[in-house]
Symmetry: C2
Subunit: 140 residues, 2 copies
């Protein structure tokens, strides 16, 4: 269970934050999700303007699924949600950093984070275990 309280923002703050973002030509901005206490980088996904607003309004992290071309409230299918702890925008306004409290696992493969492939002993290897069998859960 998440231990952090969800951070939500009033409408005026959301508008101000959204105005600071430089969206790409598809109206999207990359958002890095980092576990707020351990510092673990969990994943990177994309937000559109509505996803940023919904994330800040509700304290539940939402993205835009490029593969499905649809809004994606993280965890609606898997149950593994991200509670928003803080949301930051970078110097150029073109990348977001969401500090979150991740329930369960962040990766659709059942691993705790998505960055589990690296070179070891000359070959590309899997460096993190599957913690949850996601075969029964619709792929996020």
């Amino acid at each position: 269970m998440p231990t952090a309280a969800a951070r939500t923002y009033p409408p005026a703050a959301i508008d101000t934050f959204i105005a600071a973002i430089q969206y790409d030509t598809q109206g999207l901005v990359p958002a890095i999700a980092q576990q707020h206490d351990s510092g673990e980088v969990l994943m990177m996904a994309w937000m559109d303007r509505d996803a940023v607003a919904e994330t800040m309004r509700t304290g539940r992290v939402c993205y835009w699924s490029r593969s499905r071309q649809a809004p994606w409230r993280k965890g609606d299918t898997s149950g593994y949600i991200q509670i928003l702890v803080d949301l930051r925008v970078d110097c150029d306004g073109d990348t977001l950093l969401a500090l979150v409290d991740q329930t369960g696992v962040a990766c659709h493969t059942g691993r705790h984070n998505c960055f589990f492939r690296a070179v070891r002993e000359g070959s590309l290897q899997t460096i993190a275990p599957v913690l949850v069998d996601m075969s029964d859960i619709h792929k996020e």
Copy 2:
């Protein structure tokens, strides 16, 4: 001064890693730079195939500058380099995570990382101090 030893990779491992990457339509992949020991997310920038190869060959993190449309060896102008500690690719192959040892500051504003703007008390505020006067250094 960086304390970590630079990680470099043999040509075959570089080829294998590069083959696992899904580049976007512009031939780029987003790369998150994270300080290897503290877990601080320093910045996000873009790599093309050559930048990935050069990073892995030399152990010095290199990007592709979209604004300049040119290769960008981080720190060549400022002196604030990133030593590669580990390079990871995510589940979908479309985002990289570089664990680095950052010399000095990562952000062209002179702050330690680029994610220094967040909502505080209802307005967008700067939450990290300028550590280095970058006015004498060509903007990276």
